[in-house]
Symmetry: C2
Subunit: 427 residues, 2 copies
């Protein structure tokens, strides 16, 4: 194989332009490593005239992504337009139907339509590669699918939305409330057009869907994820958690359990001294656990031109070298349909509430917890500003159901004012 | 490809037995993922009768590793005997000459003979896979060779000898001197038969050799590494470093510079708050830096049955899936001969010495440093036990040559007693 691998690039935003730059700048290096040239033959984007800081005159132009995917001089479609449906999906389907492999960063499309697209790919002996869709520059899909292929994976976890981690870190460092840091992140251009994709946990949940599928050999099941965003995390919670040796992270966890496949994306407390607890700013981290390897932790930039283009190029170079693996790591017909676990595994919880400052208030809450079967590990009362006092509990391991029973019993105590906050503690 | 991939396993120590266990326990999973069975057809080890906790009756037996490698029913030699020369090398050569790819954990053999063996492999269209040789279960070779294939790598760093990191961590935690912790590690079976391989930095330097070759497209050059072991690191240095916000790690660094390829393995100070500084115990960490991806940090178990067998199986599964990459990531003829940098890049240094407790002593040392062109960032004097006082300096960035000039001038000051300790600070 010494003929060039010919790419058609659909989408010339930050990542697309980054890919073009690497292919131009590193042509010699890529050819040496792959044993053949990597070339771009044609591109498409919404606007032909926009200056993207990189010359495009050498490449064919298509207005229509489907036309790009169908060109005879395009071997591989590099889909970097985004969007779960619409042109991205149409172009992907067109490429796959012609037996062309697709490299994409499109987590939404694969989380929602991954199974159907993988079937479509396999029918034509093609695959879909999506390293760039999960945790940016971190080679996590490759590590999981190939490096750890001898392991039965027991758990995957990760902080996979840099914007959320930036917001939570900044709230803690600067002592600013959520709304203010959210506005700041927005002004810096860190948020998606629809910010609930980020702060609502959707984007990170798309990524978790793909990780879980490859880790456990299951069909991608986005609807099976329990999702909670970071919108309700307060600066008080961040401070109190830190006082007790924890950081708050938007954490994705997927693990097979006796009750089915547990998949959740929610703000959790993690030990400040752990790799996840020490992860500050927009950096991503993924934790992979396997029966043979134990725990592997991968850390790196989760977004941005260079890191995401690096992941796209990793997939491209695999294809240039003739390395292919089925879309989700094994033949699509062998993926099993996951049964969603109806409840998360028991865990300790952090519980913050405000009590009216009268004698016996604490005892009433402790009784309500006890009657629901929730036992208390630690309790802390903060500055006493009558008539109300903020109180924290850390529970022993409990089910969310027992905790919800206790929360439901709080109003009847007559001493709990406002909505209590309950956050899971992940070890 | 649905025929089984047939392995011949040479060496049934901890790792070899671990590989046999995975192949037996996970046969179905491996077959689903690879699209074909992975089978063991024959094995060899020093003693046939030893109980290794795993049944071997299903497999052919060879007393001679070369005979194992040459068997018609062996597709892949899995070399887990170790040793740079002798039977490991003979069996590897026999397999390669027959066009069989070799999977090995043998860092010494590849660091010293990698170029010749890679040439031998390529002559027969075979390769050598060695994920297990570097940083145990961490899929670092795969991340570097494949995942980051679109990057020009600018630096690789790592803590890659778990025993050394265990010793340094334990000295700090327990306040025990080097000799005592060394004896403890020895009693726990953590040390190689020749312990200088570990504490002298040789084993970690073998690993750095392989990382550097793949990172920079250079022939493996073990002799180009500046090596210093941890034998001279004292409990005082660990404490003083911690006081100033640093941890001491046996750190390998390789980077191309204008002066040539810099490769060194030595005890360094790293910020306590950095991922490397937070790495405790026998865990390994590798830091990869590329022009597009920025910094990627990988962390995991660097040794032990499960993690090392996991790495071996990652390579085996690649081969079962038909994924092959040249031994050092690109054709062996395209590797360039590195020119060793004659001196490490400038850095700040930590400098500890004992001064005789007389007026003007500090000034004399400061003058000697200044005359050598070494400027002082911070100075700290510890408990004054006349007639001697321990003193620490942190210098600004300086060359090792300038520092050596200063060290050479110290005796003439008449106030420096004993040998000063100088450790590089790596950022």
């Amino acid at each position: 194989m010494t003929a060039p691998l010919r790419l058609g690039i659909a989408g010339l935003g930050t990542v697309g332009a980054g890919v073009v730059k690497i292919v131009r700048r590193q042509a010699g290096m890529l050819q040496t490593r792959a044993g053949r040239p990597v070339a771009i033959t044609a591109v498409t984007a919404r606007s032909r005239d926009k200056d993207r800081g990189v010359p495009l005159g050498d490449y064919g132009w298509e207005d229509d992504p489907v036309a790009l995917a169908s060109r005879d001089d395009v071997d591989i479609l590099v889909e970097l337009m985004g969007g779960a449906d619409g042109p991205a999906k149409a172009a992907t389907e067109a490429a796959l139907d012609l037996g062309k492999t697709v490299v994409t960063a499109n987590k939404a499309m694969l989380a929602l339509h991954g199974q159907a697209l993988a079937e479509r790919a396999e029918a034509q002996n093609a695959t879909i590669r999506f390293e760039a869709a999960v945790a940016g520059g971190i080679p996590v899909m490759k590590s999981l699918t190939e490096g750890l292929a001898g392991n039965q994976i027991t758990r995957v976890m990760g902080v996979m939305n840099g914007t959320c981690n930036y917001i939570l870190t900044r709230m803690g460092d600067a002592g600013l409330p959520y709304d203010e840091v959210f506005a700041e992140a927005n002004a810096l251009g860190y948020l998606e057009a629809d910010p609930t994709l980020d702060v609502g946990g959707i984007d990170a949940a798309h990524k978790l869907t793909l990780l879980a599928s490859v880790a456990f050999g299951t069909t991608p099941d986005f609807t099976g994820i329990e999702i909670e965003g970071i919108e309700r995390v307060s600066i008080d919670d961040i401070r109190h958690a830190a006082d007790m040796g924890f950081a708050i992270k938007l954490l994705g966890v997927a693990q097979p359990t006796a009750r089915g496949l547990e998949q959740r994306m929610s703000p959790c407390l993690v030990p400040l001294a752990s790799p996840l607890g020490q992860l500050d700013g927009a950096t991503n981290m993924v934790v992979l656990e396997g029966d043979a390897v134990g725990q592997i932790v991968l850390r790196g930039a989760g977004a941005g031109e260079g890191p995401t283009a690096s992941a796209v190029m990793g997939d491209v170079m695999d294809l240039a070298r003739g390395l292919t693996v089925p879309t989700f790591g094994q033949p699509v017909s062998s993926l099993t349909q996951p049964k969603p676990a109806q409840a998360a595994a028991p865990a300790p919880y952090y519980l913050r509430m405000t009590l009216s400052d009268k004698p016996g208030a604490m005892a009433k809450v402790a009784t309500a917890l006890g009657e629901a079967g929730v036992s208390i590990d630690r309790m802390r009362q903060y500055q006493h500003e009558a008539p109300e006092a903020p109180v924290l509990f850390v529970t022993h391991k409990t089910t969310r159901a027992a905790l919800d029973d206790a929360l439901a019993a709080f109003p009847a105590t007559g001493v709990v004012t406002g909505d209590p906050v309950a956050l899971r503690i992940e070890s």
